[in-house]
Symmetry: C2
Subunit: 205 residues, 2 copies
């Protein structure tokens, strides 16, 4: 079975237990002839896939009335995977969603590491540092690298922790964020496993 | 007396009690013939001003040993203005600095409104919303505009409030941030007033 979770920057495939990525701008989806079960938040790719009969859109099998209309399907699918907790999906955007006893409570969107690094760099060349995930978030910084690291990470950390829920970390940068959330459960396959459940429930395969 | 606080995007002048701005890229500082007392965080402008004898660098009269080497001079000058509190200077970057009984405790840097709006927009056209400063930060959002507004503002709000200090708001976007910090003291002239005190103390004028 071939699964694909398409984000803003890449196609993320799972073939059996092996995952691989293709660039969202350059990959040609019609090069794949077998059946692909997919979800997609990328508006350009979404339009292209509508033409391809072997690409099967799993969003049609998710009850979106539990969520909200313009919510990314990847977030809804991730929420379907758990019954209680807070999910951090750290990709080009970092999405955070709260599920309380199977009920969706809402969520928010924070910039991903690469996007936020660009942001600081574009404000001033004096802020062109990579983020220090080892930065002590209990102490107000007194150097430039930690000042932006704290600005990006401590603000985010405080908000996530305030919900007092079990944390699930997924997405390409999950391991980096695990440094500031050491008690989080890292689940690289959270979305793929949820997609498999949806396929099974809808009897698609 | 002519004062100038030069940031990453503009020259901010104060002539008597009137302030005005000039674009950092296009303004020619040698067009001013009178004496200007300035502080500057813009690396390009800093180099240009070294050649001009009528531009007097106030950073030479600030005891930077209280702060840290690469800290923007505007932040140090703002801290000199208060004896206790947390200063938010909301410009192209939002700097946050804590002063505890005249001692500098450290600070952090967060992206400004314009920079962060660009960040979300560049991640995905689906996130191209202006921030909703009226967004209820006590409720997890269930729509796209509030999801990014909460991501930008609630994370920042939680961190600032955790310090439990009197908040001083300055910078071009001070009034917007006042919507989420209704008890803050807005002081548009915080840095200029601090510059005047430094001039007086150093007997420069």
């Amino acid at each position: 079975m071939l699964l694909c979770d398409i984000g803003n920057t890449s196609y993320h495939f799972l073939k059996d237990e092996q995952d691989f990525k293709e660039d969202a701008l350059s990959f040609n989806p019609s090069s794949i002839k077998e059946r692909v079960f997919y979800i997609c938040v990328n508006p350009h790719v979404k339009t292209a896939l509508k033409e391809l009969q072997n690409w099967i859109d799993l969003s049609l099998h998710v009850d979106m009335s539990k969520y909200y209309e313009t919510m990314g399907i990847d977030r809804a699918v991730a929420c379907e995977a758990i019954s209680d907790g807070i999910i951090i999906d750290a990709g080009s955007a970092v999405t955070v969603d709260v599920v309380n006893n199977k009920k969706y409570e809402g969520g928010f969107i924070y910039p991903g590491i690469k996007a936020m690094h660009e942001t600081y760099k574009n404000i001033s060349s004096a802020l062109d540092y990579s983020f220090n995930f080892e930065c002590d978030l209990d102490i107000m910084p007194k150097n430039s690298q930690d000042s932006i690291s704290y600005g990006y990470l401590k603000t985010f950390y405080s908000e996530v922790m305030s919900h007092n829920k079990k944390i699930f970390l997924t997405g390409g940068d999950a391991k980096k964020f695990a440094k500031i959330f050491p008690d989080a459960k890292i689940d690289d396959k959270l979305i793929f496993n949820s997609m498999k459940k949806i396929i099974k429930k809808a009897d698609l395969c």
